[in-house]
């Protein structure tokens, strides 16, 4: 499972699907997609999912910590009530690159990235207007 090409935990792209399932909850499409995918491979995860993405799980804890870092960052989130959502984060993330180029948002020890393109190479170039500002 760790290196699975679709839902493995060793790559940012695939690991992000587990975070989507954690945030979406048990009734989300992302949660159902993981169950269905591994069920199709003969692995029944239904009893394991609470340990993997439920409350108290490692993914849950890291997700909460990271979301909190984001919505308490006054340079990034400008909406009230503050939330770690696309609507709240996008103005700061795009306008001043305050998501990627801001150590406040990173869990301790994680290397800073320059742009969203570092996470999404398919974009081809930095999408943030703030990336091009000095």
């Amino acid at each position: 499972m760790y290196n699975d090409p679709e839902f493995g935990m060793s790559q940012t792209d695939t690991l992000s699907k587990w975070f989507a399932a954690q945030i979406g909850g048990t009734s989300s499409d992302e949660y159902a997609a993981i169950l269905a995918y591994f069920n199709n491979k003969g692995i029944d995860l239904s009893t394991y999912m609470p340990n993997i993405v439920g409350q108290g799980s490692m993914i849950f804890q890291l997700s909460i910590v990271n979301q909190r870092l984001i919505f308490t960052n006054p340079d990034l989130v400008i909406c009230r009530p503050a939330k770690a959502s696309n609507e709240c984060v996008t103005p700061g993330a795009w306008g001043s690159n305050a998501l990627m180029n801001n150590s406040y948002n990173y869990i301790h020890g994680t290397p800073l990235l320059n742009s969203i393109v570092d996470l999404e190479p398919v974009l081809g170039y930095p999408y943030e207007f703030g990336y091009f500002l000095t």
């Binding site: 060793s10 692995i43 394991y48 890291l62 979301q67 795009w94 290397p111």
Partner: protein, 109 residues
């Protein structure tokens, strides 16, 4: 859009004038020179403005399209989940043994 050309038939637009000059005394309103309701032809200033910018600002349309694409990405893609995953991978999930012990405990590798 690199070979865009100005359409002369779009240079003039029609609009209906129905504004009433309520502050003007009646005797003036009745004068021949006073505007009356009806259809008026007017230079399409809005289109000319856009056309002027297209002609004088290099890659204007490309910049507009790029902005639309970027806006769509930021509002519709789950880039925050990828940000969380990146942090989690660097902080903990790059350690296979730890993941097996604390996340996938009980599951066959």
């Amino acid at each position: 859009m690199t070979d865009a050309a100005w359409l002369p038939q779009k240079s003039v637009v029609n609009y209906t004038l129905d504004y009433e000059y309520t502050q003007v005394v009646e005797s003036v309103q009745n004068e021949e020179a006073a505007p009356v309701p009806g259809s008026v032809q007017y230079l399409n200033l809005g289109a000319q403005n856009v056309w002027y910018q297209m002609q004088t600002r290099p890659r204007f349309i490309l910049a507009w399209q790029a902005l639309a694409k970027i806006s769509n990405y930021f509002y519709t893609e789950n880039y925050l989940n990828k940000f969380y995953a990146y942090n989690a991978l660097e902080y903990f999930f790059n350690d296979y043994a730890a993941v097996q012990n604390y996340v996938l405990r009980g599951l066959t590798p």
